[in-house]
């Protein structure tokens, strides 16, 4: 079974092969061929991931490090001691990510075959999708931060390509799409900057970027569960510098008083870790859309819906969370960072949840919901609930992908209805119609029953209603946060718990608001009246995902939960993760907490049901919250996204533009060009050259050279006369030359003879 680990490169290379085939032969293969290749590549990668999973179980969760073929010594500068090999790491954490990425990814690929049907750039789309898979898998399988960074950047590139995929849509739409793509890319760059700085400091501190070296076991310095023997072995290795970053960190933490030299100054090791983790947080905030860098994600919904589902719900945005969980040793060691992380995550969760309430666009609501849920995960990392973070990541991947795909199905249905209308000529072309605007929907429950039911399942999962997947994971985060507060008296635990609980209430509210507006009531637009259920290709993944949204929570039943714990076993998932995530710990079931959370969520749902009742849904040009003067102010605020973008524009982008313009005009043009170049350099240069050309060059040098040239030419002409063309002349010259040579060579002897 250990041989299976050698398969891990395939996880990356299979999608790579798929994309290469589609890249070069996409036009010839046709839609069917492209679909088979792309989906096949993704599914094959999933299969490999499953095999790796089995191998993990079979080998007792041994972490394995596999050298990449050919590129093993990826970056190696022996003289400088830099050695960053390209190695794949197979452990429970990376296998989890592989399963999620390839599993959900495959379903989305499959769905996209239906969704993208008829698009003129069908092959290119799947090339990008497979490329995305390649990078995402690089990100999660690498055994060092640099490999992760390669995937990290590649994922950013793919998201840019895919968000702007419809850059040429008519009527200004294309511009919006490409703007969104650029926004995503630029905002992500800010995060990348943080990550790369963090990586540099990591490398400076540890002299390596490897998580763990091959055959190295994770150490746990602070807990009693530390394997003493492995620990000592690790220490011995550490003195020789043969350890990955995490074990070095553990060793130094235990030794204490380790200083890191930064040339001019030195920092204590703990402070260094705080710096590193805060920089990593900046990176995660970019990729996982946290405050202050979350603004790109809602705009990123401009891409095709499968892209939204794939990149911006299930996989890419989880990269930040993955990275933080991977670095749990660092985060665990830094209380300051943990506090900041908790605050960032919790506030993101509640801010995004609040904004989601005020949105009309079906996908935008889901986007803010994603941001909010990512806030949950980040906050979980902050409170030290690494397993819970991963757990929520997994369940969220299922139900958020489901919701996005279902929303895609809805949009598809609406567009279908709209086309239908135009075809019949019943309705003149409606400029204001938008297939994504929930105000034009309503009553789709009857038109699209399967979509409705799957959507409902996703909604309940997201809202955290028992027994859907979201309940288990969200509950565990809340419980862990509370536990941190109660057990250790940590302020961030209490704070996180309180904020997240409110955010959960918002979640339930806006989700039900959405369900009501889309599916309940009667159709508010003729297009909705003529909407049709989508095809099997699109529905099938929905059903699969709905199933997982229902049952995925069972993988990690908290300890002490009645009945189910004995049925499915207690915190299986946490136990699985513990083998690779040092500080993963199991959550204990808190009956009261769970009950109250569910009750609160149900209350929120009922509140939403009450607000968006049948009467309100009849005419929905305005939101009921907007009409009620008690809430209209809040709604306007949510609808305007808290003026977040405007804030950025006014206080960052606009001043930046002003500064840039000032620099360009005043500094570069007026000062540098007009003054320095024109006046100082050019004028003086001219004066000098004038002097050099007129008196010096023409008067002295030229005349001398002209003389020389004339003289040389005259000489040459005279010499040329000797070249008569007669052999006899030439022979004579040879003879005279020979005489000359003889005279010269015999000269010393002749002189000697003559006694001169």
């Amino acid at each position: 079974m250990e041989n299976f680990f050698d398969l891990v490169p395939l996880v990356v290379f299979l999608p790579l092969a798929g994309l290469l085939i589609n890249l070069f032969a996409g036009k010839q293969l046709g839609e069917t061929g492209v679909s088979i290749v792309a989906v096949g590549a993704s599914a094959a990668a999933f299969l490999v991931a499953v095999l790796l999973w089995i191998a993990q179980v079979d080998t007792g969760y041994q972490a394995a490090v596999i050298d990449a073929p050919l590129l093993g010594d990826w970056i190696s500068i022996p003289s400088a001691g830099v050695n960053i090999p390209w190695q794949f790491r197979v452990d429970t954490l990376s296998v989890t990510m592989m399963l999620v990425v390839t599993g959900v990814g495959s379903l989305i690929h499959f769905y996209a075959v239906g969704y993208m049907h008829g698009d003129e750039r069908f092959p290119r789309f799947f090339v990008y999708m497979n490329l995305f898979l390649v990078f995402m898998l690089l990100l999660v399988t690498g055994n060092n931060f640099l490999m992760m960074f390669v995937g990290w950047e590649g994922v950013g590139l793919c998201s840019y390509l895919l968000i702007g995929f419809w850059f040429d849509k008519p009527g200004g739409e294309g511009w919006k799409n490409s703007d969104a793509a650029r926004k995503a890319f630029i905002v992500n760059r800010i995060g990348d900057f943080g990550l790369i700085l963090g990586m540099l400091i990591t490398f400076w501190t540890f002299g390596t970027l490897d998580y763990y070296l091959p055959d190295e076991k994770p150490l746990v310095a602070h807990t009693e569960t530390a394997d003493v023997e492995a620990h000592q072995a690790g220490q011995a290795a550490g003195s020789a510098g043969l350890m990955g970053v995490f074990n070095q960190a553990e060793t130094w933490l235990e030794e204490g008083d380790h200083q890191v030299e930064f040339g001019l100054f030195s920092l204590s090791f703990e402070a260094t870790l705080t710096v590193i983790t805060l920089l990593f947080l900046l990176g995660a905030a970019g990729k996982s859309a946290q405050i202050p860098l979350f603004v790109w994600l809602p705009d990123a919904m401009a891409g095709p819906t499968p892209v939204s589902a794939f990149i911006h719900a299930a996989t890419m945005v989880t990269a930040g969370v993955y990275m933080m969980v991977r670095s749990n040793v660092f985060y665990h060691a830094s209380d300051v960072s943990s506090f900041v992380v908790t605050l960032v995550g919790a506030s993101t969760a509640i801010v995004a949840g609040f904004i989601a309430v005020g949105q009309w666009d079906i996908k935008r609501v889901l986007a803010y919901s994603t941001v909010s849920q990512l806030g949950f995960m980040v906050a979980a990392v902050g409170v030290g609930a690494y397993a819970a973070a991963m757990f929520h990541l997994v369940t969220h991947a299922f139900f958020k992908a489901l919701l996005f795909l279902a929303s895609g199905s809805v949009i598809h249905g609406m567009e279908h209805g709209h086309h239908h209308l135009e075809h019949d000529g019943e309705h003149v072309h409606d400029e204001t119609f938008d297939p994504q605007d929930m105000r034009f929907m309503g009553g789709l429950r009857r038109k699209m029953p399967l979509t409705y039911w799957t959507y409902l399942s996703g909604t309940l999962a997201l809202a955290g209603i028992i027994p859907f997947a979201g309940f288990w994971s969200k509950d565990e985060i809340l419980a862990d946060a509370l536990k941190l507060g109660v057990d250790e008296g940590r302020l961030d635990g209490y704070l996180g718990f309180a904020i997240l609980l409110i955010a959960a209430v918002f979640t339930a509210f806006y989700m039900w608001r959405q369900v009501s507006m889309i599916f309940l009531g009667g159709p508010r637009h003729n297009a909705a009246d003529h909407a049709e259920e989508s095809g099997t290709v699109m529905i099938a993944p929905l059903v699969v995902l709905a199933f997982f949204s229902l049952v995925a929570g069972m993988i990690n039943i908290p300890g002490g939960f009645p009945v189910l714990d004995s049925l499915f076993g207690e915190h299986k998932f946490t136990g699985w993760l513990e083998h690779s995530v040092t500080y993963a710990h199991a959550g204990q079931f808190e009956g009261l907490l769970a009950t109250s959370a569910v009750v609160l969520a149900l209350a929120a749902i009922f509140a939403a049901r009450a607000v968006y009742n049948n009467r309100a849904l009849k005419d929905l040009s305005h939101d009921p919250l907007e009409l009620d003067e008690r809430t209209s102010g809040m709604f306007a605020l949510a609808n305007a996204k808290l003026y977040w973008d405007e804030f950025y524009f006014k206080f960052i982008i606009y001043p930046f533009q002003r500064a840039a313009r000032w620099l360009a005009e005043q500094l570069d043009w007026h000062f540098w060009h007009d003054f320095v170049h024109e006046n100082v350099i050019y004028r003086h240069f001219q004066r000098v050259t004038d002097f050099l050309t007129q008196p010096v060059d023409r008067g002295i040098i030229d005349r001398a050279f002209i003389r020389l040239a004339e003289w040389t030419q005259a000489l040459a002409a005279r010499v040329r006369v000797i070249q008569t063309g007669y052999v006899r002349t030439y022979a004579l010259s040879v003879l005279l030359g020979a005489l000359l040579v003889m005279v010269i060579i015999l000269f010393p002897v002749i002189r000697e003879l003559l006694g001169i």
Binding site: T712, A716, Q723, G725, G737, L740, V741
Partner: protein
């Protein structure tokens, strides 16, 4: 008493590079008889193939990767196989290969595609290689004739065109005249030392210098006359007069080959005879060799005359003829430097470097002339370069590169050659020669860069034909010129092992 050598003393293995070439050429001569007249390209292909194989083997031998033609001596010391031999082999074979490529289409379009061309070219190449391996004055002479006679014929290859025939006859007559001097010189040396073997001559010369033996005057005269004969072959002033006429009249591909091959052969012989056999022949023990002064005086004359007269030339082939005279002067400086025992090795190495650089550059330059030349052998004037850059940017760039290299501008092979030659001259205290060399290099920029100017800054209609063998030859030459210019250590590595002076 004459001792009968055994078959094993022949040590044929050492002579393999050149003997296999001669054997192959003989076979080619016979094979060619059965090749139909309209299919003579087969002969060309066979010749190129043979050269190619030998070149690869020679390069491997030079890099000491294989032992091809290794071993110290063969034929009782008449044949020497050392690093210098390997280097001359490489130069000769590269030149021959480029010569075949340049000629291939030219011969066809001018209607002189005859198999003998390639056979003669190969024989001449064998002559050069023998010269590099000569361990005996007799071999020197025979090799010189083996090199020269095919070249006489090749010069007249374009019969019945008058210019070609005239050049062949002139070359032949003057060449024979000069060979006479060489033979006379050899005879005098034999008279003084009683041997024609270079190593024995060296020993005898040592005795003569030390006063144990008479014959100093004879030896001096012999050295002088040998210098005359060899000076003619390399076109040193004042034995240069044949050069412009022959270069202008002979078919251009022949000139491309001959300009390098004759020089390589001549200088290889000079290195063997002067820098090796007569290296210790000084008036007083410990002084520089007696021939040193003569050689550097000739070098100065050669550089001055070649460069100055080249300025007024209007025909490209004539211009390059004078240019080749000038370059002979530069190499002569290095030969002169070899007269100082302390820098002998360095000087001979610089000769080899210069020859290598010159081979690539000069064949390339002539190849460009082949490209612009019309079928009736016209359009070789300077005007033919006018506006070349617009019509054929790559060709013009290659030509510019060759011109830069001939001028000796850094990052080209020519610079590397000049650099080592001047370095050797300074090491041997030949300051006047080095100064004249540098100054005339500057003068030479005038006419070389004028060609570049014509190509890039003037407009004209051009008609150029570059079939692929020619294009490849130009490409190989320019890549080589550039590569050796930018990575000089390739050259220095090649010649590192060369040491000609006999020990002690």
């Amino acid at each position: 008493m004459f001792e009968v050598p055994g078959l094993g003393d022949l040590n044929v293995a050492a002579t393999l590079p050149v003997t296999s070439l001669v054997l192959g050429t003989c076979i080619l001569l016979i094979v060619d008889l059965f090749v139909p007249t309209d299919r003579k390209h087969i002969t060309a292909w066979l010749a190129a193939l043979g050269i190619g194989v030998l070149l690869v083997l020679a390069l491997l031998a030079l890099g000491e990767i294989t032992e091809f033609g290794d071993g110290e001596e063969a034929f009782s010391g008449m044949f020497v196989a050392d690093a210098f031999t390997d280097m001359i082999n490489v130069i000769a074979l590269i030149t021959a290969l480029l010569g075949v490529m340049v000629a291939y289409n030219y011969l066809e379009r001018t209607g002189i595609q005859r198999g003998e061309y390639y056979v003669l070219l190969l024989f001449a190449t064998a002559g050069v290689m023998f010269m590099g391996a000569a361990g005996d004055l007799v071999v020197v002479f025979v090799a010189l004739e083996l090199l020269s006679i095919p070249l006489y014929i090749l010069s007249g290859f374009r019969r019945p065109q008058e210019a070609s025939e005239e050049s062949a006859l002139k070359y032949f007559l003057l060449g024979a005249f000069a060979s006479g001097f060489l033979v006379y010189g050899i005879a005098l040396i034999y008279g003084a030392t009683g041997t024609t073997n270079l190593h024995d001559i060296w020993q005898a010369a040592g005795d003569i210098v030390a006063g144990h033996k008479s014959g100093r005057f004879l030896l001096l005269g012999g050295a002088g006359l040998a210098l005359v004969g060899l000076g003619f072959k390399v076109a040193a002033v004042p034995f240069h007069m044949w050069t412009p006429d022959v270069y202008q009249g002979a078919p251009t591909p022949v000139v491309a080959y001959m300009s390098v091959a004759a020089k390589a052969g001549g200088f290889a012989a000079m290195a063997r005879v002067l820098a090796s056999g007569l290296s210790n022949f000084a008036l007083d023990p410990g002084e520089a060799a007696v021939w040193q002064d003569t050689v550097w005086l000739l070098a100065i004359l050669t550089m001055l005359l070649g460069n100055v007269v080249a300025i007024v030339q209007t025909d490209l082939k004539r211009l390059l003829a004078y240019s080749s005279i000038a370059h002979a002067g530069y190499i002569l400086i290095a030969v002169a430097a070899a007269g100082t025992a302390a820098v002998a090795d360095e000087a001979v190495q610089s000769v080899a470097i210069y020859l290598m650089a010159y081979a690539l550059t000069n064949v390339g330059a002539f190849a460009v002339i082949v490209a612009v030349e019309r079928d009736d052998a016209t359009n070789t004037g300077l005007d033919s370069m006018r506006g070349l850059a617009n019509a054929r940017p790559w060709l013009a760039a290659a030509m510019a590169l060759f011109m830069f290299s001939l001028t000796g501008i850094p990052l080209t092979a020519g610079f590397v050659g000049k650099w080592f030659v001047f370095k050797a001259a300074l090491a041997a205290d030949l300051i006047p020669a080095a100064v004249v060399g540098v100054v005339t290099s500057l003068v030479s920029a005038f006419y070389y860069l004028r060609i570049v100017w014509l190509m890039y800054f003037e407009e004209s209609e051009v008609e150029v034909s570059t079939p692929w063998p020619l294009a490849w030859a130009i490409g190989v030459a320019s890549v080589g010129t550039l590569l050796l210019g930018m990575l000089p250590y390739i050259l220095t590595d090649m010649v590192r092992e060369i040491t000609l002076a006999f020990g002690g």
